[in-house]
Amino acid sequence: MKQMSRIVRTVTNLIYGFIIIFGFYVILHGHLTPGGGFQGGAIVASAFALLLISYGALNTEKLLKKDLLSILESGGLTMFIGTAFLGLGITFFYNFLANSGSWFGDAAVIGINPGNMNTGGVIPLMNIAVGLEVLSALGVIVLVMASGAEFTKKKENS
């Protein structure tokens, strides 16, 4: 994959940061507004895909390290299953933070309300964990497939 024209690269430079910020916004507000870890992670990964098609696989690999993303992926999943393990005093996946008064532990106003960030118990934590996992997993998949395509093409020419 070669890099695309200057117009595309300039527009990418302008917007990819905003896409990533929007993705993290969706991840963090998953328990209040439409969205959540998967959707936000997919949005961030779409920014990676944008970088990839406008700059080409080889240039993007300098910016996004595959190793870093793999570590982030395992870390996100470990955090997710770790949060589930913490509920093991009662049951696996027990929401031990909800309505407890500590982190994310405020009781929600029942019925229609403007939303309070500090609610949801373990749900925001799991959203963050899954968000990290999805963005890194999709990023790794896109990067590896793109560089693999380059790899297969070279083999074909030689």
Partner: protein, 88 residues
């Protein structure tokens, strides 16, 4: 010959599915909704999250979500393994 067998199998399967769609309950008018009513009424007080879908995804059906994240992880690991460079 193979195409004829495939064609017959396809037609049988497709009519099977169409029959299921026609017999399905009316679109937009669920008959039973006990489980979902419970979620809509109690999700806010039990989990504290405003978004009922998220509270189902991460609380009531959290194990599904773990499985789904695992599928994505498995696919990523599998793709890295498939495109690994060094072969001894």
């Amino acid at each position: 010959m193979k195409k004829i067998i495939f064609g017959i199998a396809f037609i049988i399967f497709f009519s099977f599915l169409i029959v299921s769609a026609i017999n399905m309950r009316q679109f937009g008018e669920p008959i039973f909704s006990e489980m979902d009513d419970y979620f809509i009424e109690n999700a806010q007080s039990e989990t504290g999250a405003n978004n009922v879908v998220t509270s189902i995804v991460f609380d009531y059906r959290g194990f599904d979500t773990l499985g789904e994240a695992t599928v994505l992880f498995a696919a990523a690991v599998g793709i890295i393994a498939l495109f690994r460079r060094v072969t001894k």
